[in-house]
């Protein structure tokens, strides 16, 4: 059960004769549970992150290999609606999907397509969760980018999926909104055991919230596992084109200068501070 990729490759174009196939994704082996995972999908621009999540929603079918979603192998003839009901994908640009007269209708569009009941109730709940109850009666075309993004997320949330995939959810949100959204996702993950997958470029987000990190580089999965182990590696930039989170960066530089045996792998400001205090002792500034 869950999302299982085995030896999956994907190419956008069917190659002409004599032409080599240019795979966007190659050799993907991945196993994602439908409960209790919080995954950050990171990688350089053009590394195939968006393609990968679109395959998880059966929007793209694998060119080679086998893809299983919720226990069913994805083929062109498979009924995809039940899968999309349980695996929700929020796209990067919300302006590509809003079309209704009011935000409430917009949010209820997903549940309506999946033939769910109590549309208004669902829309209201989803809006409450995203903190946009005040916007329910407005036209989505009058909203700002950040508000639209919240509407887009709410419209997926309203169908209550088991797996929630978000493509760059924090872009265009102010710091407060960003934090709120991520905390809310964490909450969803912890209280309702939903699986959350986010694509992000922001290592802070990845290190602070995710439990598992998948690193894509040039269409291949180069790392899949615990975040601590990832940031404990040396030369992330050279290897995977990735940055360290700020806390790790600072601690690494301090360690390089003072060599006092700091544990550099701290992912929140508090932890990093505690580690510094432990090694250097409390200063009189506090």
């Amino acid at each position: 059960m869950g999302i299982v990729f085995s030896k999956v490759a994907f190419a956008y174009y069917r190659p002409r004769k004599k032409q080599a196939v240019r795979f966007v994704l190659e050799d993907i082996d991945l196993n994602i549970e439908t409960t209790n995972e919080f995954i950050a999908l990171v990688g350089h621009t053009g590394s195939g992150k968006s393609t990968l999540v679109q395959m998880m929603n059966a929007l793209l079918l694998p060119t080679e290999g086998k893809l299983e979603l919720l226990g069913k192998t994805v083929t062109p003839t498979l009924k995809l609606k039940p899968i999309r009901e349980k695996i929700g994908l929020v796209f990067q640009f919300p302006e590509y999907q809003v079309f209704e007269e009011t935000v409430a209708k917009e949010i209820a569009f997903g549940p309506k397509n999946f033939r769910m009941k109590d549309l208004e109730q669902r829309a209201k709940e989803a809006a409450e969760v995203m903190g946009i109850t005040g916007l329910l009666d407005r036209s989505p075309f009058t909203l700002s980018g950040g508000q639209l993004r919240k509407v887009a997320i709410a419209s997926i949330l309203a169908t209550n999926p088991d797996v929630l995939i978000l493509d760059e959810p924090t872009v265009g949100l102010d710091p407060l909104g960003k934090d709120e959204l991520l905390k809310f996702l964490k909450n969803l993950n912890e209280t309702l055991n939903k699986t959350i997958i986010i694509i992000t470029h922001d290592m802070e987000v990845a290190s602070k919230y995710a439990k598992r990190i998948i690193v894509l580089n040039e269409g291949r999965i180069v790392y899949d596992g615990d975040k601590k182990a990832l940031f404990a590696m040396n030369d992330l930039l050279g290897r995977f084109n990735l940055n360290y989170p700020n806390t790790v960066k600072i601690l690494r530089q301090m360690e390089a200068k003072f060599k006092v045996g700091l544990d550099v792998n701290q992912h929140s400001v508090q932890d990093a501070y505690a580690e510094i205090v432990k090694k250097f002792g409390e200063t009189d500034e506090q």
Binding site: E95, Q97, N113
Partner: protein, 326 residues
């Protein structure tokens, strides 16, 4: 939905036809098409068809591309040929006694039903399949002669009918081939430049040609972009449960709205952005402007133009003087 739609038919290759000036190609195509309608007899048309094939061979473009362009008119050709064969009278070429009875009419109906039901299984060569079904229908009427008889009749094919249909086929096929020769060997932008250059004299009539061609080239430029966007919208809605394949007709209407509204909104936004960007770079609609793609009229162009003009002139002369004897 996954396959990208490539706009324009341009096929990248290197032949003398690709290198010709687009102005030459547009004028010649126009003259050749008019010439095709000036030729009356079958022999003349067959010669024209042969010349077209030679042109196609020299263009270094796979023949399948040209056949693909015939797909659109195949049905039309088929129907006109059928009517020509059935309706024209004259000397009998061939006659086939047929009988429509209970048995074979049922089989024919079943055949057609099978043809339509097989839509999902057999996707390629549908047209040939259709021809096979029709031909099979006639054969059944010829050979299966038992059971309750509805009507006995003869399928008579007249010589004139065959000649006429051959003329139509030769004319339309060469016409399609010639026009796709233009679109296959010329990039849309080049075509647009050529049209602009050819329409320049219209400026004297106070028609603003450069604005018109700018509009054409902008719309050509944005077709792939819009298609791309449509695909993104489709995907975004698909993940919200829109499914054009599986849902009922009533639901499909709202689903199409869910595609069209974002499409309009995004296009308007894009148009506004583009206008701003153009203004920011100092675009003034009426100002004289140089082009990055200079059109060059070479010796080959002159040769081609003279040849087509000669053929065209000769045909006109033959037609007017009544010397047409082919």
């Amino acid at each position: 939905m996954n396959s990208k739609v490539v706009f324009g038919q341009y096929y990248n290759s290197d032949s003398w036809l690709h290198r010709l000036d687009p102005r030459t190609k547009i004028i010649s195509m126009f003259l050749i098409i008019v010439s095709l309608f000036l030729i009356e007899g079958l022999k003349g048309l067959l010669i024209a068809f042969g010349l077209t094939l030679i042109l196609i061979l020299s263009s270094r473009i796979p023949f399948s591309k040209f056949l693909a362009s015939l797909k659109m008119v195949a049905m039309l050709l088929f129907i006109t040929v059928i009517f020509q064969v059935i309706l024209s009278k004259g000397t009998v070429a061939y006659s086939l006694p047929l009988q429509l009875n209970l048995v074979n009419s049922l089989i024919i109906v079943a055949l057609f039903a099978l043809y339509f039901l097989s839509k999902k299984i057999i996707r390629k060569f549908r047209f040939f399949l259709f021809l096979l079904v029709v031909a099979g229908g006639f054969l059944l009427q010829h050979y299966l002669k038992f059971g309750f008889v509805f009507v006995n009749y003869d399928l008579t094919v007249y010589q004139d009918g065959i000649f006429n249909s051959l003329i139509i086929i030769a004319r339309i096929v060469s016409l399609i081939f010639i026009s796709s020769l233009l679109t296959l060997t010329t990039k849309p932008t080049e075509l647009n430049n050529g049209l602009e250059a050819l329409a320049k004299p219209l400026k004297k009539l106070k028609i603003n040609v450069s604005v018109m061609t700018m509009m054409i080239s902008i719309s050509l430029r944005f077709i792939p972009t819009l298609l791309n966007e449509a695909e993104k919208i489709l995907k975004a809605q698909a993940s919200r449960g829109v499914d054009f394949k599986e849902s009922k007709f009533k639901d499909k209407i709202t689903q199409i709205v869910s595609l069209l509204v974002p499409m309009f909104v995004i296009s308007y936004k894009r148009a506004g952005d583009l206008a701003d960007a153009m203004e920011a770079r100092g675009y003034i609609p009426e100002a004289p402007r140089t082009s990055i793609n200079l059109l060059r009229f070479r010796f080959a162009d002159a040769l081609v133009l003279i040849m087509t003009l000669l053929v065209f002139g000769a045909l006109i002369y033959l037609k007017v003087s009544g010397l047409y004897a082919v």
